[in-house]
């Protein structure tokens, strides 16, 4: 596979870098690589962690005996055998996520809309019009980074993060849309909130609702629907 930089990050972990930018096309290649590795399951590969432009490959303890910097040969073989242009070979689910935008559930919506010269309804319309891809999860269990945001909606994050962002909040930062699975500190611009339980952490096969490679659309709901769905989930 051309254009790939491989680094041994520890005795048992290797980082495969495809680039260094936040770009939907590049991330699609990352998801293809991750999907392919997961399906091939080469010996000793324990964790496959996609990020925006790279995949971290974590191996089992036995790999510590390998000398040098090179990837374990079984992993190398799988990567080299991969067809780069297989555009639809990304395993992933589709999700429609209900979001109550603005008001108490999206405290920054009005300010962000004002900053962008849009009215709040137009911002919501554009946010819900897009199809997003889960680029990666990181920072905390279930914290989801989505690509696909309308470029007209790009805003920087807050200078001073909030000490507590409500669970289920949808935030904007630069080209990214982020979803907070639980109450966490955070600096993203909060435009809405989903009542869904995003990271129940009970099923070892699927501890979080969203996984890398999944596709997501947001649907605007009102506060009453939010309250009803939240009650069904057993949330506050």
């Amino acid at each position: 596979m051309a254009g790939v930089d491989i680094e041994r990050l520890s005795e048992t972990d290797w980082l495969v870098r495809l680039g260094d930018t936040v770009d939907a096309g590049l991330n699609a290649h990352v998801q293809q690589l991750a999907t392919h590795l997961r399906a091939s399951a080469p010996e000793g590969l324990v964790d496959i962690v996609p990020a925006y432009a790279s995949v971290l490959l974590r191996g089992d303890a036995a790999l510590a005996t390998l000398p040098g910097e090179a990837l374990p040969p079984p992993w190398r073989a799988v990567i080299d055998a991969m067809a780069v242009d297989a555009a639809d070979t990304v395993a992933g689910r589709e999700h429609r996520i209900p979001v109550c935008y603005g008001g108490e559930h999206g405290q920054d919506l009005a300010a962000v809309a004002g900053r962008l010269g849009l009215d709040a309804d137009e911002l919501v319309r554009r946010h819900t019009a897009a199809e997003y891809r889960v680029a990666m999860l990181g920072f905390a269990p279930g914290f989801t980074y989505l690509l696909g945001l309308d470029p007209a909606l790009a805003v920087p994050r807050h200078d001073t993060p909030r000490t507590r962002v409500p669970a289920g909040s949808i935030g904007l930062a630069g080209a990214q849309t982020g979803v907070y699975p639980r109450a966490l500190p955070g600096g993203w611009q909060l435009i809405g909130r989903t009542p869904l339980q995003l990271a129940p952490l009970d099923d070892p096969q699927r501890p979080c609702l969203l996984a890398p490679g999944d596709r997501v659309r947001f649907e605007a709901i009102g506060p009453a629907a939010f309250a009803r769905l939240a009650a069904e989930q057993g949330d506050d």
């Binding site: 962690v49 510590a64 905390a140 501890p207």
Partner: protein, 323 residues
């Protein structure tokens, strides 16, 4: 059942940690000093992956509600007692139902482990009995232990006979060494971008372990470090042992609860053989570093693993000897 009467400074349930969930942002957690936890389990006849209690700086006080074998490993606990009797470390002790273990403060180092025959038998959460304190979830109470917690014990798998030797993983007692050997670093992704003074400082200066160090990472205070040029990084996967350089200039070595992805420059890698020593870095103490290469790191780890394997086999053999 074992009951927590006092949780010490910070105690939690830890086993070998979680795997294969990092793509959900769920990290490994597990014991910070993994060899110490393994040996504690070996000493009471538990399988290596049994769950133990990890304690930080000041040990817990616990009551056993059944007869059990217990073992203490890790940082020295010179005032550890069962009732009125001293409780020695690095060996196993039989304690009777109703006994109170009062473990007291650590004289040096940072983390100690208590294993009980049968293991702490809470239901696993996502495949492990470990607690991820930073992420706020785990098995059993799923948080730091507190007074009043009652933890189930599993059935012992072996009836230990007392092990008559004191075990220490490193023949040099590095908890006591006034000049502990430096922690070994390998080059990281961005080591080449360090200012020459910074690279020199890592090799020659003493850094102080920050008071806000924890299972997420050890923060190092001293000469502020810098790269020759600013680097805008995209978030990438991260692992324990990575030394990151945040904008303030104080490096952090990532620990077992590090966030799965990160965007700070990676200026070094702690050799895996020294991860247990990272776990024993006591806030306020000094730490020094030394650059080594991949081959030296590989050999040191292989030697350590051989020693650990030998110790565990020896313990098992002694446990199976007739009394």
């Amino acid at each position: 059942m074992i009951e927590v009467l006092d949780s010490g400074l910070l105690s939690s349930l830890q086993d070998a940690g979680r795997q294969a969930l990092a793509h959900f942002g769920i990290g490994r957690a597990g014991a910070a000093d993994e060899p110490a936890r393994c040996l504690a389990n070996a000493l009471v006849g538990n399988p290596a992956d049994a769950c133990a209690i990890e304690m930080t700086l000041r040990g817990a006080t616990l009551r056993l509600h059944r007869d059990a074998w217990v073992a203490l490993t890790g940082a020295p606990l010179p005032r550890a007692r069962v009732g009125e009797r001293p409780l020695p470390m690095w060996t196993n002790c039989h304690v009777e139902a109703g006994s109170v273990l009062e473990l007291g403060p650590m004289r040096a180092g940072c983390r100690s482990y208590l294993a009980v025959s049968g293991g702490i038998d809470v239901a696993p959460r996502l495949g492990s009995r470990s607690t991820d304190l930073n992420a706020g979830f785990g098995a059993g109470p799923g948080r730091a232990l507190k007074a009043g917690d009652r933890l189930p014990l599993g059935a012992p798998t072996i009836a230990p006979s007392p092990v008559r030797r004191r075990w220490s993983l490193d023949p040099r007692p590095w908890f006591d060494d006034p000049a502990p050997p430096p922690l070994r670093l390998l080059a990281g992704t961005h080591t080449g971008l360090l200012e020459p003074l910074a690279r020199h400082a890592l090799e020659h200066e003493t850094f102080r372990v920050g008071a806000d160090s924890n299972r997420v990472g050890v923060r190092l205070q001293g000469v502020p470090l810098a790269l020759r040029e600013a680097l805008e990084m995209v978030s990438e996967g991260s692992v324990a042992g990575v030394m990151q350089l945040p904008p303030g200039g104080e490096p952090i070595i990532l620990g077992v609860e590090h966030p799965v992805t990160g965007g700070y420059p990676r200026i070094a890698q702690l050799a895996a053989v020294d991860l247990p020593r990272l776990a024993q870095c006591r806030p306020g103490t000094g730490v020094r570093f030394h650059w080594i290469d991949r081959e030296q790191a590989r050999r040191a780890l292989a030697e350590r693993d051989r020693e650990l394997d030998c110790l565990q086999r020896d313990v098992l053999r002694r446990l199976q000897e007739p009394a």
